[in-house]
């Protein structure tokens, strides 16, 4: 009985995580592109070398949209999940570095999707998403594909 419940929970997990990351990355990617000037300003506010910023301003949204695109197709879904996990780990590492005062100042956290969240709240949200991505990756064998029925 318990294993049946566990099985059905995991059966729901992969489609849920896929849909969640598709929505998240499509929204954040296009939102950054639609407000590219704003996103560039936000990056200028961050303690990162400024010669990187033009590349990051285009690179981050492009990677997010690419990861979401990979999640759309069964053949590339695992690659999409891995890309999503990698992006989330990069973002989370950056937030952790800010919170641990690796940088000279704490920049504002006002540029992302969750504009009203503090860096600490951002960290918890990101950690939750990382756990979900890991669970979906662990549950999904390389050769199989999802039968998504939302």
């Amino acid at each position: 009985m318990a294993s049946k419940v566990k099985g059905s929970l995991f059966a729901f997990l992969n489609p849920f995580v896929t849909a969640l990351f598709v929505l998240l990355f499509i929204y954040t990617g296009f939102n950054k592109l639609f407000g590219l000037n704003n996103f560039t300003d936000t990056l200028m506010n961050q303690p990162i070398p400024h010669f990187f910023i033009p590349f990051l301003a285009w690179g981050f949204p492009s990677l997010e949209i690419l990861a979401a695109a990979c999640l759309l197709f069964p053949r590339t879904r695992r690659l999409g999940l891995l890309s999503a996990l990698t992006l989330m780990v990069i973002f989370t590492g950056y937030i952790a570095a800010i919170l641990l005062h690796f940088f000279r100042r704490v920049p504002c956290s006002c540029g992302g999707i969750f504009r009203t969240l503090s860096w600490q709240q951002h960290l918890w949200v990101n950690l939750g998403l990382i756990v979900l991505a890991l669970l979906a990756l662990i549950r999904k064998p390389v050769s199989s594909s999802l039968n998504l029925s939302l």
Partner: protein
């Protein structure tokens, strides 16, 4: 061949529409004045501007932005909110020190 999932396609369309509907608003640079000035705390840890943006209801990253490179703060400001008291007290972005800030900032009209 695997069937394409239209539920995910719907999410994509919905996500793009939501991203467009919630795109960050920023006044056109043509309508804005751009100011730059130098003003840091003496220990170099804090950046100050000559205008209390937060009290004016400005949102950092939307109404103004600061670039702390080389102690230079550049921000985009609505000229109707332009401050005129160059000799006034320094106000703050994040917090106000009671002492220990460099009072030699130059307010430069850039654009």
């Amino acid at each position: 061949m695997k069937k394409f999932n239209f539920a995910l396609l719907f999410l994509v369309v919905f996500g793009i529409a939501a991203a467009y509907a919630n795109k960050p608003l920023r006044p056109s640079p043509k309508e804005m004045h751009v100011y730059a000035f130098q003003c840091m705390s003496t220990d170099g840890s804090k950046m100050y501007i000559l205008f209390d943006c937060t009290a004016e209801g400005w949102t950092q990253g939307i109404d103004y932005s600061c670039d702390a490179t080389n102690n230079l703060c550049t921000f985009y400001g609505d000229p109707t909110r332009e401050h005129s008291d160059l000799a006034g007290d320094f106000f703050y972005v994040w917090d106000v020190p009671h002492a220990g800030f460099l009072n030699t900032g130059n307010f430069i009209f850039v654009n």
